[in-house]
Symmetry: C2
Subunit: 471 residues, 2 copies
């Protein structure tokens, strides 16, 4: 198509220049900025929101405090977010994990002691069945070249079916099937038919680092797993402090509308500011990056990737209590449920336990059922779940709050982008492949810990090296 007429907004906006312009002040974009600044490059970061952090967010509780509304945990092998956390001087503490978890299914509430999917299956609910399926998944995941699953020997076969199809062919008991669906729902906030088997295997393989291959347990566990540790003051302390160090290099309320490549440079136009630079880093999920108008048009493989890598649907509902009363009842605060608004819960209380906060994930179809609900109805639905799982003591919270991501303009969902069948094998390489002067970052582009804060940081470090090498 012909070039668009320059809008008068571009003429009226402030015009600045830098070596590199970065779109998005989430962990990926901020990390890339940090590394490029350290390498002596000038950088401008354009952020649509009025805050840094992207999907890392401190949800205001209405009393001047916050609780994690987005990504919140860190676990073993997540070395890069760990290093950044240390650099920022943010302390961490163990996720509360003493006592039993609640399992609610078919109208019955029961308790279990062990971490993970296996721990949640009483012997009569298909534990052998599930165990065989998980062993099988683990073995297949070992054949995945991390971050390049399309190169797996059986990539075509694994990418031609949904995880639902595989899970039904490889488990017979309803208990095992429920828990495999719960595994997908709780890690990705989609249904098991929304993703290909290959995508799930890559997600498992990605739950590790260069010396420790990924596995299912590390993905889903609290102890020794991705939910092991939390941040004092909330995970948002990390991007907030990193952004503060970058100072006025970060421009807020500046959603990027267009990226034009011309000759040896790029012109990035946001509301209120236009940046001329040598390179641009788009540090966003593919789906949200697809809302930017690129000139010239991107290669078809990238354009189609941005149409085919949707976000999960997720929300977090929190209730604040004077004390974490469930601890005294011998409960961790963790649960999984097959009904009600809330699918799974965690103890989100602050490090000092000075008050109790229950956090419930409202996943995939559950959150969309609330599309037309009033705030009062949403609160009632969330509280009904908490009472069902933790008893009458949950009935009277001091306050509640909710963060919903699937109708959030600048994230478009969460926790991460997912790949339906066929997408990784046909379009996966476009996740990271630069398009001329346009480079890509974001947790979706990471090999290890894709979908997590660690993957975001890794992607920022990778793209900074990639860009520094060609400047």
């Amino acid at each position: 198509m012909s070039a668009l007429p320059a809008s008068s907004a571009r003429a009226a906006a402030a015009a600045v220049s830098a070596d590199v312009v970065i779109v998005g002040a989430g962990l990926a974009g901020l990390t890339a900025a940090r590394d490029l600044v350290a390498a002596g490059r000038s950088v401008i970061v354009l952020e649509a929101r009025e805050r840094p952090g992207g999907r890392v967010y401190g949800l205001p509780l209405g009393d001047g405090t916050t609780s994690e509304g987005g990504a919140e945990f860190i676990g073993p092998t997540q070395d890069r977010i760990a290093a950044l956390t240390k650099d920022m001087g943010v302390e961490t503490f163990a996720t509360y994990n003493t006592g039993k978890n609640v399992y609610y299914r078919n109208g019955k509430r029961s308790l279990y002691a062990t971490d993970g999917i296996l721990g949640s299956v009483p012997p009569d609910w298909g534990v052998v069945d599930l165990q065989l399926a998980l062993v099988s998944l683990g073995n297949m995941a070992k054949e995945i070249p991390v971050g390049e699953p399309w190169k797996a020997p059986k990539a075509e076969e694994w990418d031609s079916q949904t995880f639902y199809t595989w899970s039904r062919s490889n488990s017979l008991s309803s208990g095992a099937r429920f828990l495999m669906d719960a595994f997908i729902s709780s890690t990705l906030s989609v249904r098991s038919r929304d993703v290909s088997l290959l995508y799930v295997l890559n997600y498992i393989a990605s739950a590790g680092n260069e010396s420790n291959p990924g596995n299912v347990d590390r993905l889903i566990n609290t102890k020794n797993g991705a939910q092991e540790t939390r941040f004092v003051g909330g995970s948002e302390q990390v991007p907030i402090r990193l952004a503060a160090k970058l100072g006025d290099r970060v421009r807020y309320n500046a959603p990027v509308r267009s990226i034009v490549t011309s000759g040896n440079g790029v012109t990035v136009t946001a509301d209120g500011v236009t940046v001329a630079a040598k390179r641009v880093i788009v540090a966003m999920s593919p789906a949200v990056a697809g809302q930017i108008d690129f000139t010239p048009t991107l290669p078809a493989s990238r354009l189609q990737l941005m149409q085919r890598y949707p976000m999960g649907s997720i929300a977090k509902f929190v209730a604040v209590y004077d004390t974490p009363f469930w601890r005294a009842d011998g409960l961790t605060g963790q649960s999984v449920a097959d009904s009600g608004a809330i699918d799974a819960t965690f103890d989100n209380s602050p490090a000092d336990g000075s008050r109790g906060i229950l956090m419930g994930f409202i996943n995939q179809t559950n959150i969309r059922r609330l599309d037309a609900a009033s705030p009062e109805q949403v609160k009632a639905a969330g509280m009904e779940s908490f009472v069902k799982l933790f008893g009458d003591k949950a009935k009277n919270p001091v306050r509640t709050a909710m963060q919903r991501w699937d109708n959030e303009t600048w994230s478009g969902g969460g926790p991460t982008g997912i790949a339906p069948p066929g997408v990784l094998t046909d379009f996966g390489a476009a996740l990271r492949t630069p398009c001329g002067l346009v480079h890509w970052a974001g947790t979706e582009t990471s090999g290890f810990w894709t979908g997590y804060m660690d993957g975001a940081v890794r992607s920022g470090e990778r793209v900074a090296k990639e860009v520094a090498a060609v400047l």
Copy 2:
């Protein structure tokens, strides 16, 4: 999120008002405009391109003439495009269909006489196998409520698997499997794993009208099927003449950037013009509509639909000859191939046969393989296919041309939007459900003949009634 700061472009642009503003001057948008004008309403149509027609397009051949670069055929039960064609005074003629078709597989070229998938299968290539599978598909399609496949009794089961999974479970011979993949590739220009079984069943059910249920044959055949008839002067004559009747109500080079709903009205901002109206009709595919910035944010089900309904990847390559030489060789010009750049061909010669034009579809993965190819390499690949299929006489065309849709900013692919597993059941209702003052049209929203010109016209007629009823 908070409202965006008004850009100075909005202040500088021309400001107009109308009862209804329509985004997109394809057949859907133009039809809606025609009906609303007939109902006495004032209308403005905003079109990103410098021409009307959307995916209906006359590809310039370089000698002052055109050949169909997009949608081109019309067939039985496509009553609404037929009526519009008649109203516009555009004549039609039979697609050239005399002689045999070419079937190229495993390095061997053979000829066959009958229309459709069954005709293309010599008896030793699994015809019984394929026939059983097609009967099964046809029977399942009868259970689909057209345009609301999510209401089918087995919707969950059919939407949880890819068409690939179903086709492999229901055919054993490689010949039958190849032809089922070719069925998907030639109708949708995606791979059989990209779409759910439910989506394919709905597409089959949609190939009919109120008194004639859809079926596979009508979808894939030339005689008595969707490829039966062509337009004198090219299909683009229909939108061109319709747009001419609407006159300066249609604004070109006006890509819409934002739609703001406020109180009882909408403000639609395009490059160079801002329209205030009572209602807005977005007559675009979901994927391309997703590039517009909506304030307030749309409901999550619609936002996620726009992330999850990607376009197929398609291109048309044409070669012009002094005569349609294949006719003298007893060939229709139609073919299907398992290798080479071109997947299927048609005789695209003009109605009077005054010259010969071969048209080849370059589908799904084949077109992306040419992402980095020069125009010369693309031409060489296309010509290699034509010579393989139609012999040495194809070697020296007068000229060639290609229309590629998957890197086309304002269509994002073609022929239509497709649904991976899970999308229709969880998000399908959002295809047509209005969001406040925002209404939706486009062939993807149609019950009958979704994906076709007829579906586009039907959607325009439906949305015009929908909007007229609430004005």
